[in-house]
Symmetry: C2
Subunit: 224 residues, 2 copies
């Protein structure tokens, strides 16, 4: 969906296609947001930009470099929503929720980052916000690190399922689909019945991540 008009100001220079590093990365981001990580191929990107794949290599390197640049670009664009709450655990929880929500707002790019093992590159700014709240809660050194990592890992677990649900319309291998075939004498029928239905991820996120936050963050401090 990038067209010549988007970089018309580059025409008339020594360049023939008027292509920029930024143009390549923005085109790549557009491809990912439209068709997911697997839609980002060198040939499709080249076609989108109206050039040959070789031109892409000249401007922005190989696919790996482009993926990294796309993640960095999205990282900058992630909304810096202010943290809410008075008590320290509430504010930490709010920062954790930002990570969760901004990832769900851009599921395709988050999936891309996940596949590329660069989730923390995408989330770094939000991790810093979370770290500040932990510092304000009185956590220092190793205990701050452990709290940060534990919270981010928990959020990450929810993200795996949250992103899964996006594309799982026909999925036969979801946990709740599999439980439909289970009949175990050690488990109550009402429990099995519950397990055949998908869970309310958002509600479960709140209580579970809150439990982790409460375990690591002292509760009585407040913040001006």
């Amino acid at each position: 969906m990038l067209n010549q008009a988007d970089h018309a100001d580059n025409e008339g220079t020594g360049r023939r296609a008027g292509l920029d590093h930024a143009d390549v990365i923005e085109g790549a981001l557009a491809l990912v947001e439209e068709g997911g990580p697997e839609a980002l191929t060198m040939r499709k990107l080249a076609a989108e930009l109206g050039v040959t794949t070789t031109t892409i290599y000249w401007h922005a390197g190989g696919r790996d470099d482009i993926v990294t640049a796309v993640i960095k670009l999205m990282s900058q664009r992630l909304a810096h929503t202010p943290v809410e709450g008075i008590l320290a655990p509430d504010r930490v929880m709010s920062a954790a929720r930002h990570v969760w929500e901004s990832a769900l707002a851009h599921p395709e790019v988050t999936s891309l980052a996940h596949q590329h093992r660069s989730t923390s590159l995408l989330e770094l700014d939000l991790e810093i916000v979370l770290a500040r709240e932990l510092a304000a809660a009185g956590l220092r050194g190793d205990s701050a690190r452990d709290a940060l990592r534990a919270i981010l890992i928990s959020v990450g677990g929810f993200l795996v399922l949250g992103l899964r649900d996006e594309s799982a319309i026909d999925d036969e291998h979801t946990s709740h689909a599999l439980w439909a075939g289970i009949d175990d004498p050690g488990i109550d029928p009402s429990t099995v019945e519950s397990l055949t239905h998908p869970v309310d991820l958002h509600a479960l996120f709140e209580t579970t991540v809150r439990a982790v936050v409460d375990h690591y963050v002292p509760g009585r401090e407040s913040r001006p």
Copy 2:
């Protein structure tokens, strides 16, 4: 590493390569365990088995079918280690640890399942063990389901990082590598210093998952 001797008992029948559905899946599993998910290609598998790719399709279908079958095979092979502990939360924790440890024992297959969005297919038997312990702890219906999902999601979050570390010798995008470049006035220098070092995942697993377990599982019940 499969050779003709492995299925010599099939020779002399109407078959020419003496190939079986089970042979294909075991060959696929071997490829994955040796070279990771990306080593499982139809051509490599065919070469390993000494046939053409088309033969693979005849016996076991396309790559998707093979991946599913590999995961099911590994699911059956996962050790049924007995749950330990007397108090309910200890036993639930033990069952959760089984999920974590059996996944780490087979990182490549777990990665494959993860990519295929079939983690719960791989872990189903261990999920059932966990569900039994939750039932024994007195949890029924929705509260049993929520506890199970919350615990599995937490374990899943740790798995993402645990599997990451396996292949992260040169990784520039790990969280602790990124924090080395951060200088934020709102965060204590000792905290930043801590964050530049990798975390002890096993220790963090114990305390974090335990916090989740304790939040969902009543603590006073015991089991004969």
